[in-house]
Amino acid sequence: MSLVRIQKKDFSVSEEVEMVKASSMSIGGVVVFLGTARDVSKGEDIIELEFESYPEMAEKKLNDIRERAIKNFNIIEMALIHRIGKIAIGENIVLIIAAARHRNDAFMACEWAISELKRITPIWKKETTKKGDVWVEERP
């Protein structure tokens, strides 16, 4: 299974971490970012989220982030997974795993990767509130 995926179904954090860990016995620190659907956004009660992507380009961009993270940070491996489709409150949205010899490198790469994902990956979020559906139009 690929370390970079856009998919409808949920992922298992443990399984993905094990897949990353399997890449090397020299990993000493793994940092995971897990984005989840929260009940309130900008003061508005959220009922449900829906994500849409430009699939081919989104996977291309996630692959690009992984390659640059491995090249520019002192990490051994990285996984990036983003879900699309309807997502209920509390559910998982996005998972980024950075594995390094030393923890500081893993923290830096993981933090960079999630902000880079938000910046360059063609994925859009629709929020369903009591007032209706709104495509979120914000550039982070």
Binding site: G35, F51, E52, S53, Y54, E56, M57, A58, K60, H82, I93, V94, I114, L117, K118, R119, I120, T121, P122, I123, W124, K125, K126, W135, V136, E137, E138, R139, P140
Partner: protein, 81 residues
Amino acid sequence: MITIKFFAMLKNKVGRDEAAISIPGQITLMEFKDILKKEFPCISGFIDKSVLISVNQEFAASGTIIKDGDEVALLPPFSGG
């Protein structure tokens, strides 16, 4: 023919997720934007303002050349993550 892809609120506004138009030879993205605004007037404000454009799944600039067979996508501000 050029394939044009619409996403998120642009898809809602245009009422479909894909369109195809033909262009006279090779033109720049800047010129292509004018054609898009005439073909899809309901989103011309977005095209001027907040929309990024990709050509064959790579971000494109005003000078990028558009030619027959290309896939052009109109990308509203991203909100993944």
